[in-house]
């Protein structure tokens, strides 16, 4: 039995509480939040859960085995570090930290202490992403040529982060999980298209990520779209995938379409031609991603599994965010990635 404390009961925290509540071998012991009304809300739903305004009270509670950090990103490092120092396993919401330096320190600390450090990259635990991973691993798509994601809607402008840090972690985590190659450079263009002196964060951003072998990934995130789009195109040498998270019937469509290259001897005109075939929409597991993730975290705490989205996965995402932000700040300059691992 793993006893859990959840720090942060804003928009996302209650979803984690709800899912840990029904996870086997797990008990939600306490929650904390600075806002009394949020604590009251959680207690109206779960009367037995202790509620405190003081996060440290949870972190220091000897009954608690694992701390879940669901607070604004600026506080992730400090809270996760304190929890690890107290010997607690940690699950921290995305993005893991503000900087790669912070992320590396948390990884090191967790390794020293032999504790679980997991990042809440929720989509990695969702049915469609797991299915696409399966298809890629089986070689169904062939070699991955490109990855193109659009994640836009009319969204709440966040006070603490821009649209890049709010939405792109989803894409970067999925990208890293599915493509599994080393990115070599990042460029990004952002805009604050709304005339507001007092609001300085980008609300539209386009990020390009290049990989060693020529694979190109592109991510479009926006809080300023009149329609909600969650669509990823993945082009492979054998097949192509359209992943539309919002299509209830067919979240994944696999197209037996592609490009065929002919040797120059064969013919004169078209060196590259396309072929089209059937489309196939595999059945996708509809279990809530967070439910799968919470179970996995408890299994990790119990020593039964290694985190799929560990500190290194979190670090990768922060690296891409950092580089994209630097590029945006410099008007779109291409930023080379010199990975710590290779340094």
């Amino acid at each position: 039995m793993i006893k859990v404390g959840v720090i942060g009961c804003g928009y996302w925290g209650p979803n984690l509480v709800r899912n840990f509540y029904k996870t086997p071998n797990c008990e939600v012991v306490g929650v904390s939040d600075l806002r009394p009304e949020r604590l009251q809300y959680i207690q109206s739903l779960y009367p037995k859960v202790q509620a405190t305004p003081d996060a440290l009270e949870l972190i220091r509670n000897p009954q608690i085995d694992a701390i879940v950090v669901v607070t604004p990103v600026a506080t992730h490092y400090e809270l996760a570090r304190a929890a690890l120092l107290e010997g607690k396993h940690v699950l921290v919401t995305k993005p893991m930290t503000r900087t790669t330096a912070e992320a590396r320190q948390l990884i090191e600390l967790a390794e020293q202490k032999g504790l679980v450090l997991m990042v809440d990259h929720t989509f990695i635990y969702s049915g469609p992403v797991r299915k696409i991973k399966e298809l890629i691993d089986q070689g169904e798509l062939g070699q991955i040529y490109y990855y193109d994601s659009v994640r836009v809607n009319l969204g709440l402008f966040q006070n603490d982060v821009n649209v890049l840090w709010d939405l792109a972690p989803h894409d970067f985590s999925i990208l890293a999980y599915l493509v599994g190659k080393e990115p070599i450079s990042v460029s990004a263009i952002g805009a604050r298209p709304v005339n507001c002196k007092h609001y300085e964060h980008e609300s539209v951003a386009y990020v390009s990520v290049r990989f060693d072998d020529g694979t190109l990934a592109h991510v479009h995130v926006s809080w300023l779209s009149p329609v909600k789009i969650r669509r990823t195109l993945i082009g492979g040498s054998r097949k192509m995938v359209v992943y539309d998270h919002l299509d209830p019937d067919n979240q994944i469509k696999v197209y037996d379409k592609g490009v065929e290259i002919r040797s120059i001897e064969e013919q004169y005109q078209a060196l590259v031609q396309y072929r089209t075939g059937d489309m196939w929409a595999p059945k996708v597991d509809q279990t809530e991603a967070l439910e799968v993730e919470c179970r996995h975290f408890i299994d990790c705490c119990l020593g039964k599994a290694k985190p799929l989205t560990d500190g290194y996965a979190g670090l990768q995402v922060v690296e891409l965010l950092e580089a994209a932000q630097r590029s945006m700040d410099r008007g779109g300059e291409v930023i080379s990635l010199v990975r710590a691992a290779s340094a």
Copy 2:
């Protein structure tokens, strides 16, 4: 009565012949193409039209008033120039020329000779684009914040141009027409995601265009998408538009959605909030764009109108293409636009 000669009977040429054929005050006198089978095809449809393998024969034909150039871009400048020198009005298909230098020479020559020089930016004459222009001119959308276009499909890899020069002229011409501001910089990322030694052209490209006032435009073009998408999002301060060329019922949707900015005194939390209202899909004229364009060209030749898509419109598109190509060649470097006008 304007007598027309059409040079080039490949994919697009026959569409121009068909439309000029039914345009009032116009007669298609002759066509030319290097391929006998294409000439034969045209003659099977229009037995009275003269067909010749020699473009110069048309250009020098004293009966002909106007020359339509529908050949590969590499030949546009030479053919258009020859036609202008022979005192013919010219309609040239997009992109106008390979370089801005060529475009400027054609503009100058046409002005010297007092001849019509028009570029076949077909979409400018389409119902949906004209309707959006109308909405913008009426102030319905307010100030334009961003322009985002996706133009992707599984396309024929062209032998003479990359995907940027093939597809982006459509977006650049629409962008220039609708937004009507001066672009200040361009950056572009391209990829040749397919391993083919003998095929060197980019088949995927992402282009960002910045304007003086902070407006951001972004264009995604690809020949490697399993699904065909032709969708443009235009965000304004008052309303937002989704233009989906492939939605037969609702090509244009106007969303009464947007962002509201509050003064910092008013409240603490959200400086920027969104509002959502009705959606409205105006009826769109379904006349074939090329039919409207052909009529307009004849009206221009007859001195009854000034070309909507004149040489300067063509030049603007070539400027953006040139800058985007340079950026792609330099791995995504941001290219400043120093416009000739301001030089």
Copy 3:
């Protein structure tokens, strides 16, 4: 403060408990169900609510003011009657009763006792249906010509009712609410397309309802469709509506399309021509229908409102179901409706 007891905690009951739980001036005192695991489930969510296997315990509980009946239809009459006899207000789920005779008795009893008798026709309280009603009442659609509803999916075959009694109550209640005319005849075709000796209920049904003035309504319900469709077309003399409950962005689309009749003098060829104009998707209130309904029921119990979906509304639906069932049983025979009111 109205104290409520809920009988039946199967699929739908918990939704009523959840909504009454957050309704002002209301307290959920107790629930009953024959299945211990269902009671346990409710208590895990709402520890303070009393749970009993005995419905009569709730009905006789002097603390309780109103009884909500959410049981299989076969038990509605008996439970509602007992509750009314004990002086409780009653909300009964659809369809109100098995027979019009039962429905009439409940109406009479409630009137004698001066108690609220309301039927849970949930859709009447939904944003889209209320919006369509508003449009009709404002004359926006003109005269209603036809009503066509498709409500199909791959559904659980019910053990106690066929697809008609399961799904058509939704359509019949919406139809009665929106069209507001007297139906004069009903015909229905049903099928048990699956070869199963032991399963005797229809799983596909088509129902036609004729009205006095020539208006035609048609309802297609099915548990055997591979895709889920919830779409209603409403044709009016001025405008037409497409109501797609599953389209998250545009549940209601109002088409400025219609038919224009010309006098025979005007022209020879087409007496009737169509015109097409803009489409408009009004913003629709997304409040959960059941929340609106629960508040309305409490307001009715407090004497502040008259039930929108009262016993007579419930009776109308049962009349249509009875007639449609009779038609199905007779192979599609047209059944005239002689309304009790006119008898």
Copy 4:
């Protein structure tokens, strides 16, 4: 070489001329129409084709081998009969004739004369319908349980026929082709929902067709829908098909969904349960159906093939139309089909 004459150059006739024009072993010799402007139109496109206002001129022309009848249905019998009597093969547009009596006489005459009599049931030659037929023949769908078609749009009100005779022939011919069973009864409900004294034809109709083994087919046709829908659901014991003619990417979707029946011993609750699996959209041949049909007709005239849509197929459709019309005229009465064959 088969020499063809086409009678009727209204909306559909030119499509037949265009397709016969490019059919191998075929020459379009002449066309006829009562309207000079229609003849002029055809001659502007095909200058070599003879044009005459007199259909009999074509029928009696000894050079012509085959007559294509594309006129209003009221004239089909007379024209086809005259052509057969003159020894010409005949292709007649749908519906074959006004009555089954007429259809039977044409069949008999063609058999006596040893001539080809084919009906233009275009959809039978379309890629999607041929693909569904293939799936059914391969046993992919299992036993067919139901067939449900919706064919609605805002349509031109025809002067000579109602919506049943205009649109339902498509569905009846596809139904007969795919399901291949003997229908035993038909019922239909129609409406003239528009108040127009001078227009007496139904513009909305619902038709149910029952088959011997319990299979149920239902067809909804309308000229009064604000949206165009062309969608057929086919439920089989193994798989289900959605055929949406207007979905350019996926005209056919095959759902591995269905219903499983359990023996009563196995369990108590659900005798019938559903299962859901993958969806698959096979590639569909996009050749124009009419092109395939025209080639097939010429092959039949040359003795190389037997008509897929012969007189008997035409008769079947007229039988269903006749019965449905009778049912509509009697307010929805169920009409038993006593087939001539079994009489």
